[in-house]
Amino acid sequence: MRWINTRPSRGAQLALTLLPFVLLIVAYTMGSAARLAENANDKLLPGLAGFADAIDRLAFVADPRTGEYLLWSDTGASLIRLLAGLGISTITALVIGMLIGMLPYLRALLSPFVAVISMVPPLALLPILFIAMGLGEASKIALIVIGVAPTMIRDLALKALELPREQIVKAETLGGSSWQIGLRVVLPQILPRLITCLRLQLGPAWLFLIAAEAISSDSGLGYRIFLVRRYLSMDVIFPYVVWITLLAVVMNYILDRIRIAVFPWSELEKQA
């Protein structure tokens, strides 16, 4: 049988899914054990006990200086910035994207502009943001918005444009005005895409957040990672990276569940 026609059974599929994760952990454990055997004080690849100790210290013991539980206060600070940035981006993208997709005049006005803006490397703007908006929360949130919103606007405008012309004409023959067609025909059909688009932008949003926190902050997950880097505290950095990844994976999953629960038809369309 050809390779393209052979499929794994359910059990094999599960095993294959888990395999890379297991391999990664095994490889790390072996590397760590080898280094620790040579030098018990090695900081580069700490063992599992080192991680457990660091996690316990950060998550369950109050910081003697501030009285805060660092992992949770860092997570809170980062999530507020991330969600504020993503929230602003989402609303901007929805409004502007829909207008570009629906109205030829606004398309002529904004579409090339957004396309050019989306090519500006956001990190190159970070110094400008820090100078213009200060080192506080605003500049970090602004970086996420600048990094994420143009792509989302373009994606949603495309999606609105992709709606079959027949549907729009049909809505017109049902007496719909531009506003009504936007509200009842275009908006509900691009909302599922908005969620998917948001999921795809989670990665870039985290990237910009960590970058902003690394350069100037006094809390946050990115701040902590870059702070302890000075002490080569891999026992802190590794769990933080895993934790950030976990947060992103959970957000991604929850968003997709929301899409299926709120817009059941979008899943039916996919299967049809």
Partner: protein, 261 residues
């Protein structure tokens, strides 16, 4: 009343003539079919009737008045595909016309107005044979059922003219014949003027009162046939000699038009 008068209509794109001097009259409540080879401009013609495109020359009058320059509720349409909204249930799709015309800003009806609209929508859903499927989404319906839905959705607006753009082209032969009967009954019950664009000659002959044959490049009206068979017509009429003679004659005319083009 809903008489449609098309007078000396031309459509040109630059040097290319798509429609050349098309004149025809569609009587109120008539069922007219346009047939012709591909490229004969029948889809362009339908888009002009919809208001999606304007004739380069000539006039189109509906009840003596010039057609508005964009689609509107006096002209309903069913396309071959994408006629229904995937994000609305069957009931939601049929209700939509009522909601758009009845509520300017929210485009949603509430209370008694909504209940009335739902009653009417359910009756139409019954008429096209979709009772019981009210809460399904289009993706859960077969192609034939989706086109039934598109018909009900268009008819709730009580349009003067219903335009059908190869509405059954994507369906299998049996479903197609079922839908011919649905259309036949709707035409009798709703007393709407129907213009059907198709390249299925049996479909045109079974359904229409009048058939216009068009030629390709440029599109012109080659011939006009009155369909003499009494109504209501049953499907077995298609085995009659008169019916088959007519289909053959149409076929011959289109074959010639294709050779000429």
């Amino acid at each position: 009343m809903s008489e449609l008068v098309i007078e000396k209509v031309w459509k040109e794109y630059g040097d290319q003539i798509v429609l050349e001097d098309v004149s025809l009259t569609v009587a109120s409540r008539a069922f007219v079919a346009l047939v012709g080879p591909s490229g004969c401009g029948k889809s362009t013609f339908l888009r002009m009737l919809l208001g999606q495109e304007r004739p380069t020359r000539g006039t189109i009058l509906l009840d003596g008045e010039a057609l508005p320059q964009e689609p509107g509720p006096d002209r309903g349409v069913v396309f071959q595909r994408y006629s229904v909204f995937p994000h609305l249930t069957v009931l939601g799709n049929v209700l939509l016309g009522r909601e758009l015309s009845g509520s300017r800003y929210k485009a949603k009806l509430f209370g008694a107005a909504r209940r009335n609209a739902i009653d009417e929508a359910r009756r139409l859903i019954g008429e096209v044979g979709l009772s019981g499927a009210e809460d399904k989404y289009p993706a859960q319906l077969s192609g034939g059922m989706q086109q039934r839905l598109a018909l009900a959705q268009a008819l709730i607006m009580k349009p003067k003219v219903l335009l059908l753009d190869e509405p059954f082209g994507a369906l299998d032969a049996f479903t197609r014949e079922e839908l011919w009967c649905v259309i036949r009954d709707l035409h009798t019950a709703q007393r709407v003027t129907i213009i059907l664009v198709t390249h299925d000659l049996r479909e045109a002959t079974f359904l229409a009162d009048k058939i216009f044959v068009m030629s390709a490049r440029p599109g012109r009206v080659l011939a006009e046939h009155r369909v003499p068979f009494a109504r209501p017509r049953q499907l077995d009429i298609m085995y009659d000699k008169g019916f088959n003679d007519m289909v053959q004659e149409l076929h011959g005319e289109i074959a010639q038009a294709r050779v000429a083009a």
